[in-house]
């Protein structure tokens, strides 16, 4: 499940990449539907349950990050992995959200470009500190649109994290140079 920025050109490469091994779902809703970010997680969870999708990983892209977080808080047992890419700033006054972040059970990863000056780094640090199992991946020399700036640098860890969860920190690549 990918939420947010689905129309961005860079998201297309992510969908294509994921679709080689996964069933990829994105949500679309009419702009006139008057659905708020707060309502969306419940609505998405309901829609997926109705569609027979019982467990899934969630990727939040930029403005979709709060919705992805909302889903992971709402139905923690159903989320395999949570990946949050270029998160927007989170209000430091949102004490309830801070409290709720600890309810996330899925292995999580926050991904941010090192040239992103939007405040995403601070959000990443906060998420790394509050979510029980959260990796904080910096994409060197990428700005806010990390998927456009350094697609391979994003897709490889995303792929490995989806496949292996927390074990993605273990390197299994052979270090033999000339057998």
């Amino acid at each position: 499940m990918v939420v947010g920025e689905k129309d961005a050109a860079s998201a297309g490469s992510l969908f294509d990449h994921l679709a080689t091994k996964n069933r990829v779902l994105t949500m679309d809703w009419p702009s006139a539907a008057q659905i708020t970010d707060r309502d969306l997680p419940a609505s998405i969870a309901h829609t997926l349950a109705e569609s027979g999708v019982d467990r899934y990983s969630v990727i939040g892209l930029s403005s979709g990050v709060p919705i992805a977080i909302g889903l992971a808080i709402l139905i923690p047992k159903l989320i395999n992995r949570l990946i949050l890419i270029s998160p927007p700033p989170i209000a430091t006054s949102d004490a309830a959200l801070y409290e709720d972040l600890s309810k996330i059970e899925a292995p999580s990863m926050v991904m941010i470009g090192t040239r992103d000056r939007s405040g995403a780094m601070d959000t990443g640090r906060l998420l790394r500190g509050k979510i029980r199992s959260c990796h904080f991946a910096m994409i060197y020399d990428a700005d806010r649109d990390v998927l456009s700036d350094r697609p391979q640098a994003c897709l490889i860890p995303i792929r490995e994290f989806l496949d292996r969860g927390e074990e993605f920190i273990v390197c299994h690549e052979s270090q033999i140079i000339s057998p």
Partner: protein, 347 residues
């Protein structure tokens, strides 16, 4: 103006060849040990003379500078130097694991109670050959390494790094450096691309062996680029490394230095095509007729004045020169410290 003594820890014996690499068979084991002790004594003498920093550099496979691992020598210095700062000018990032470099420098900063300064470099042409690095990528590798090290020193949470040249899934450096947010960092400024990098990252500018007009040009560019980034460097952000030979009279200096020239771009007994392939655009790789700082104290004061006018606030002095004996180096250090340094401190 601050003065740094460049502790070259040069091999104390005579080696007939100037080849590179120099065959280990020329290395007398006892003289190596003696070299380390002499290097330490010279550095302690420099501190006693009033030098503000002691600097070390990283060079390989040759008797010219016996600190292929400057961190090791710096660790020893942390236990001997009382006051002087220890400047690692510097670790060669294409040859190293930057996270390891961050860890070792943080250790040194802790061991010295916050007296570490560092300039990250990509290495001279022969260093590129040492561990078989690609010269075409050395600048990019170094710049990515600098960014990674700065992150490793300042990030409060563990992080992963998906770089072009480095990939780490978990970085979490202990100890943190004593200096907050981190030790003073310089970046090479010999090339315009590197000047822009230093300005963009708000770090110091370190140059070596360039002629005065080039120094002036680089500093002006550094200030201009820094202004675009919204900050204003001071002379304290600018460092220049050069050779020095100061004596009571010009005649004495000329006699000591002789007619020997120093070609910084030449790697002796290495195929010319190979040398051309690893040297690239290196403005500092040129032939020097004599040390930059040269002659009697009054002449040296004038030369330093010119340097200060270019915007340099830190000078790193190497007292070695082909043919200048160790004893003459000591006398030159003494002459500089007693007759030049007091006059230029206030610049």
């Amino acid at each position: 103006m601050k003065a740094s003594f460049f502790g070259t820890v040069s091999y104390a014996g005579q080696v007939a060849t100037r080849d590179w690499p120099v065959a280990p068979l020329h290395c007398d084991r006892a003289i190596s040990s003696q070299t380390m002790q002499r290097g330490m004594e010279q550095i302690l003498f420099a501190e006693e003379l009033g030098f503000d920093w002691i600097s070390l550099s990283e060079h390989h496979y040759s008797p010219r500078i016996l600190t292929p691992s400057p961190m090791l020598f710096a660790a020893a210095l942390t236990q001997r130097l009382k006051r002087a700062k220890i400047a690692l000018l510097g670790p060669l990032l294409p040859l190293a694991n930057p996270v390891r470099v961050a860890e070792e420098l943080a250790m040194l900063d802790s061991m010295s109670n916050g007296r570490i300064i560092v300039l990250f470099l990509r290495g001279t042409p022969n260093e590129i050959l040492t561990y078989r690095n690609n010269p075409d990528e050395s600048r990019e590798i170094t710049q990515e390494g600098v960014e990674l090290i700065l992150r490793a020193w300042t990030e409060p949470q563990p992080f992963g790094w998906e770089g072009r040249y480095f990939n780490f899934r978990t970085v979490s450096v202990w100890p943190r450096p004593v200096q907050e947010p981190h030790p003073k960092v310089f970046s090479s400024g010999n090339n315009p691309e590197s000047v822009r990098f230093a300005a963009r990252h708000r770090i110091g500018l370190g140059m070596s062996f360039l002629p005065l007009p080039a120094i002036k040009n680089r500093v002006a560019m550094y200030r201009e680029e820094a202004a675009k980034e919204g900050w204003e460097p001071t002379a304290d952000d600018v460092l220049y490394r050069f050779y020095a030979h100061v004596t009571e009279t010009d005649e004495e200096a000329a006699g000591n230095v002789g007619q020997v020239k120093l070609n910084l771009g030449k790697i002796y007994n290495v195929n010319e095509n190979v040398v051309a392939a690893v040297t690239g655009n290196r403005p500092e790789m040129r032939e020097l007729d004599r040390p930059f700082l040269f002659g009697n104290p009054s002449a040296a004061i004038d030369q330093i004045g010119e340097l200060r006018e270019c915007g340099v606030g830190n000078m790193d002095l190497a007292f070695i020169w082909p043919g200048v004996s160790y004893d003459k180096q000591l006398r030159s250090m003494e002459c500089f410290a007693s007759k030049v340094l007091p006059q230029v401190r206030g610049l």
